[in-house]
């Protein structure tokens, strides 16, 4: 991707380096959350306590409402907290603070407040964690005014988007893809550059079909795209990176060429952000300009525990209208993450 030298790195470490860089750069950046002093549940803050001490790497009680709300309060006096929520599902214990306070204070107070928080919320399926530890509800927050919604899919984006998130004056909801923590990747050596919000990664190029995706399913989509390419079918793949704002222009330009749209996300299909993408494109280009517009998402069922049932919810294959109906390889990197929940 980059002309500069790169290093191999896992996604979790890429995120850790981004936090490290920004904490060194800006003394008002700090982290609060359960067990962050021990490196965080996933090792995403490993070693930071030693360098920054317990006033900037703050291990908290199990008090999600207050983790979220205190982060906001600290932002209102001019610090830049990274609010670590351990798992997205636990954010449900802090929704008043997120939805009614963080997302609203700037507007409701007429611009006086600067809620410059990053809320990190590792989400998605991971090792048969079942219904209360596997949810993906990122679509909800695109519907919520006042926030930016970030869904990285690889180490480089994790790092660059996290740098942007920490520097942003907006509340940034940052969905770490749990299932990809230990996925191998590369980042460019040297300073981690911020990646702007709202700019998709054009991950594969082609004319046969426009695929739009984000977060943990992206590697599977790319594997499928590679297989199709071997069959001579080249698809345009956009990894959105952020679903609010999202890169409508890039998708529209591609779709104007391919006339075929497939949105793939691991969240439940009904009411997911895929619907928004389709509705927006239909509105922008007109139905006549589009031949096919489909979604591939999870069925509207909670995430079950048993492997064969959980697999039914995972997007492990691409179905119609993708020509060739090929199966992608199953996830190969679910073994080694530190998480002990």
């Amino acid at each position: 991707m980059s002309a500069n030298p790169t290093s191999d790195i896992t996604l979790v470490d890429a995120g850790r380096l981004a936090v490290l860089q920004e904490m060194r750069r800006d003394p008002t950046v700090w982290v609060l959350g359960e067990d962050v002093g021990r490196g965080g549940l996933w090792g995403q803050y490993r070693g930071l306590l030693d360098e920054f001490g317990p006033e900037r790497i703050v291990s908290t009680p199990i008090s999600e409402s207050t983790i979220m709300g205190a982060g906001l309060g600290a932002a209102l006096v001019g610090t830049r907290p990274i609010i670590e929520m351990r798992m997205f599902d636990f954010v449900m214990c802090a929704m008043d603070e997120l939805v009614n306070q963080i997302a609203k204070v700037r507007y409701m107070f007429g611009g006086q407040a600067k809620p410059a928080v990053v809320v990190r919320m590792p989400h998605g399926m991971w090792r048969n964690s079942a219904a209360q530890h596997s949810q993906m509800l990122e679509a909800w927050f695109a519907h919520l005014p006042g926030v930016v919604v970030v869904c990285p899919s690889n180490a480089e984006d994790e790092a660059g988007l996290l740098v942007s998130a920490i520097r942003s004056d907006d509340p940034v909801l940052f969905f770490d893809p749990k299932d990809l923590w230990t996925a191998p990747g590369q980042i460019t050596d040297g300073e981690i550059a911020p990646i702007p919000f709202g700019k998709a990664r054009h991950a594969r190029k082609g004319d046969a079909l426009t695929i739009v995706t984000w977060s943990a399913v992206t590697p599977n989509v790319l594997t499928a795209a590679d297989q199709l390419a071997r069959d001579g079918i080249n698809v345009d793949v956009f990894d959105l990176r952020t679903i609010w704002p999202w890169d409508q222009d890039a998708v529209a330009a591609s779709l104007a060429r391919t006339k075929r749209l497939l949105v793939v996300h691991e969240a439940v299909e009904v009411g997911g952000f895929g619907a928004e993408i389709i509705a927006t494109m239909i509105d922008r280009l007109g139905p006549a300009a589009i031949k096919v517009a489909k979604r591939l998402g999870a069925p509207r069922i909670p995430v079950p525990f048993a492997p064969p049932l959980e697999n039914e919810v995972r997007i492990t294959r691409l179905s119609a209208p993708c020509p060739g109906d090929s199966a992608t390889s199953p996830r190969g990197h679910r073994g080694a993450a530190q998480g002990n929940e």
Binding site: P61, A70, G73, A74, L76, M108, F109, G110, Q112, D169
Partner: protein
């Protein structure tokens, strides 16, 4: 009442200080009487919560605060804002939803905020300000400021989870927070004692690890003295403290609530405990000239009537401003 930047005046038997307290209480009362009158005439939209009978608490609390101390408030926040140093006329503009109001017409009474004087906002969610206050204190501590955070909430808020969480949080990190529970005995349309078990907010706070005292919140002198002492503790880094101030709410929950269920005798009895009348007798006893008291009342009336009139005549915010201040990246523009 806040003494910007400087050290607070010493509490106690200080006529000048008590007169200032009195002036603030009268201003709060007059602000809300004026607002209520305007509300009944349809001049003010949205919900309006007045605090007749509770004025000693915000006045007494803020008398020991500096401007750079931060305060979080609840839905009944006019007194908190005025006492912290907000400007009445700008508040009226906001209550009226007009251009130039504190929130540019986006908040109204329930979301009054003036960050320039450390007033971090009224809050439409009961107990919503508690976590914000402890976070503000934590941020101040990280920034090595010696400013403190003050958190105002009602008796009703002590039955919500954030009460437990925020007090525990403040205690474990030894944060500079003063919690102030304004206990007027009611929460919306319910007598709080009917839905609250145990020995009350102070007992809960003490058990959670925040030293707390219960005081007569209708006695401005007691409030002032207690706060001065506790603020000194808090500012000195001795950790959080809580005041549980007993008071009365004379009126209904909102400006449109007649509170017909309340025993009129109890409400009448509450009025005999008026904190303003009480401080007035103290001042007279201590020899303050009646003319000064009179002058304070007149000044407050003039201030509030001018504020009301200006707000009533002020222009609405421009419609495109509805799209301002949502977020920096990813904001939508007008015209759908």
């Amino acid at each position: 009442m806040a003494t910007p930047g400087g050290a607070p005046a010493p509490a106690g038997d200080n006529l000048r200080r008590l007169t200032d307290l009195y002036r603030m209480m009268v201003r709060i009362r007059t602000f809300e009487e004026t607002a209520l009158e305007a509300y009944k005439l349809g001049e003010i939209p949205g919900p309006l919560h007045v605090s007749f009978g509770q004025e000693a608490i915000p006045a007494g609390v803020c008398a020991s605060l500096r401007q750079d101390d931060r305060l979080t408030s609840n839905h009944r926040g006019h007194g908190h804002a005025l006492a912290k140093g907000a400007d009445a006329a700008t508040m009226y503009l906001e209550l009226y939803g007009r251009d130039g109001g504190y929130c540019r017409g986006k908040g109204g009474s329930m979301h009054i905020a003036d960050f320039s004087v450390g007033m971090l906002g009224a809050n439409g969610v009961v107990a919503g300000g508690l976590a914000i206050a402890v976070g503000a204190a934590q941020g101040l501590k990280l920034l090595k400021s010696d400013a403190i955070a003050v958190c105002m909430f009602g008796d009703g808020a002590t039955n919500r989870g954030p009460f437990l969480e925020a007090l525990n949080w403040a205690a474990i990190y030894t944060l500079p927070v003063l919690f102030v529970c304004e206990d007027n005995g009611v929460a919306a349309h319910t007598e709080t004692r009917t839905v609250t078990a145990g020995d009350g907010p102070a007992a809960r706070a003490n058990a959670i690890g925040v030293p707390a005292v219960t005081i007569d919140g209708n006695d401005a002198v007691t409030v002032d003295e207690t706060v001065a002492r506790l603020v000194a503790d808090v500012r000195a880094g001795r950790g959080p403290r809580m005041i549980h101030a007993m008071t009365d709410r004379w009126s209904g929950h909102t400006a449109t609530d007649a509170a017909a269920w309340r025993d009129p005798k109890k409400v009448e009895a509450a009025k005999t405990r008026c904190p303003i009348a009480r401080l007035k007798s103290v001042l007279i006893e201590r020899g303050l000239a009646p003319a000064v008291l009179e002058e304070i009342g007149t000044a407050a009336r003039n201030e509030m009537h001018a504020g009301r009139a200006a707000a009533n005549a002020a222009p609405w915010p421009s419609v495109p401003s509805a799209y301002d201040d949502v977020q920096s990246v990813g904001a939508v523009s007008g015209g759908r």
